[in-house]
């Protein structure tokens, strides 16, 4: 479904943020990406839908290369959902409009179709009674669930999550993770940058560990948690699990 091949990316001339990153995500697989701050996780995940351009290598999503001239990147993005650390709901639209706008403006759905879909998704993320509120009137956990619904409204073939719970108060983390767990259970292809190792253990098929722009380890999740091969991953795990 998603294949990254020897992806390199520089910020400016001197700073290489991604070094020869290769990665495969099969249909229905859930991949967790972790690693120290600044290691390039956000950049990596944003290259998948072309939000961050790459300098060399290639990324193929569902058979379509993001670097090919003939590829319509906007169309491709509409088929890949993305959830951000800071929610990034559109502040001037209420919850329902946030979920409808992409359907109407990008997919060309009718208002009725879009609002039906929005209502169903709001029910699914358990926010039906907040349908007409504005983002600033919701808690962080509620906002992030709306953001997930906004992505799902496009009926994506895969979902990308960039630290979806790290801006949340601890008591709200689970309401968001629960939605993600149920998505994974339904067979959604997911790439998730997170430090929630409980989530990784429970639902990830594989864990990818990044450091200094490199994919240092790419292992079945049991293997990764059981006996990480690299010293850097061991070190990272011991830090993150002991606090």
């Amino acid at each position: 479904m998603i294949e990254m091949m020897a992806v390199n990316k520089w910020y400016g001339k001197d700073f290489q943020v991604l070094k020869d990153c290769s990665l495969k995500v099969a249909k229905g697989e859930v991949i967790v990406v972790c690693g120290p701050s600044g290691s390039g996780k956000s950049t990596l995940i944003k290259t998948v839908n072309g939000l961050e351009p790459i300098n060399s290598g290639d990324i193929v999503v569902d058979g379509v290369s993001i670097t090919a001239k003939s590829t319509n990147l906007d169309k491709m993005r509409s088929r890949i959902g993305m959830v951000f650390q800071n929610f990034e709901l559109f502040p001037h639209m209420n919850v329902t409009d946030n979920i409808e706008i992409g359907q109407i403006k990008v997919l060309g759905r009718s208002d009725e179709e879009a609002s039906e879909k929005a209502a169903a998704l709001l029910k699914r993320v358990d926010l039906s009674e907040h349908a007409l509120k504005f983002p600033s009137q919701l808690s962080g956990g509620q906002q992030q669930r709306v953001a997930i619904a906004r992505g799902l409204a496009m009926e994506p073939m895969a979902m990308l999550f960039d630290e979806p719970t790290s801006a949340l108060d601890p008591e709200m983390i689970n309401e968001v993770l629960d939605v993600m767990v149920s998505l994974a259970g339904e067979g959604m292809t997911m790439m998730v940058v997170t430090h929630e190792m409980g989530f990784a253990r429970k639902v990830a098929d594989r864990v990818v560990f990044m450091d200094y722009g490199e994919i240092v380890e790419d292992a079945k999740s049991d293997d990764f948690f059981g006996s990480p091969r690299s010293a850097r991953a061991q070190d990272f795990l011991s830090k993150i699990l002991n606090h």
């Binding site: 944003k46 839908n49 939000l51 906007d74 169309k75 491709m76 993005r77 509409s78 088929r79 890949i80 959902g81 993305m82 951000f84 800071n86 990034e88 709901l89 559109f90 502040p91 001037h92 706008i101 992409g102 403006k105 990008v106 997919l107 509120k133 504005f134 600033s136 009137q137 906004r150 992505g151 496009m154």
Partner: protein, 240 residues
Amino acid sequence: MNYNWDWGILFRDPYAGWILEGLWWTIVISLLAWVIAFTLGSILGVFRTTSSPILRAIGTCYVELFRNIPILVQLFLWYFVFPEILPDDWGRWVKRDMPAPAMTTAIVALGLYTASRVCEQVRSGIEAVGVGQRQAGRAIGMTEPQVYRHILLPNAYRIIIPPLTSEFLTIFKQSSLALTIGVVELTAMTRQIEEYTFQGFEAFTAATIVYSLVTFTVMFLMRFVDKRTALPGTFASGGA
């Protein structure tokens, strides 16, 4: 000092009419110049923040050029120099044959100058909305123009209502510079009253009051607009 106060002059024919007529032209100049400034400034502000290096360069050049030449110099350049460098026929048209040459030149000059300032406000508004919003729009498949139309601009304009109000009020005050090329707006009319009656104190006091009244009215209206457009759960950013 032997000054004969005569406040009644302000209400006497034809001077009351002159003040009103001057005010009318001041408002016409300000509004039309603002239409140019707001439209062009918005387009340039968008240019300066797009992904296209060419558009960004155009925006930057415009701002650097127009913002750094004093408005009075620009006014003179447009009025006295610009027609001379045009082909003869066109130059004559600009100087003489187009409708109200001095007034039109004043409107265009003020509009083009203020466009550079509006551009910077729009740019800073768009930047304040943030990269995250831009990415969120692109991530659901919106094109760059769609992201501007539906996400960046509606939020950016909300943020910059107060500075845009000040820019409008600046145009309103700077419109008095038009008298230097012979446009008879409010300040020019006031001087004319002084010349005819020697009641300069009364005339300029009246002008001051009229300018202030318009300014306060605009500020009051825009504060209302700012409140009305504020998003639920947030606070309007306050007065101009």
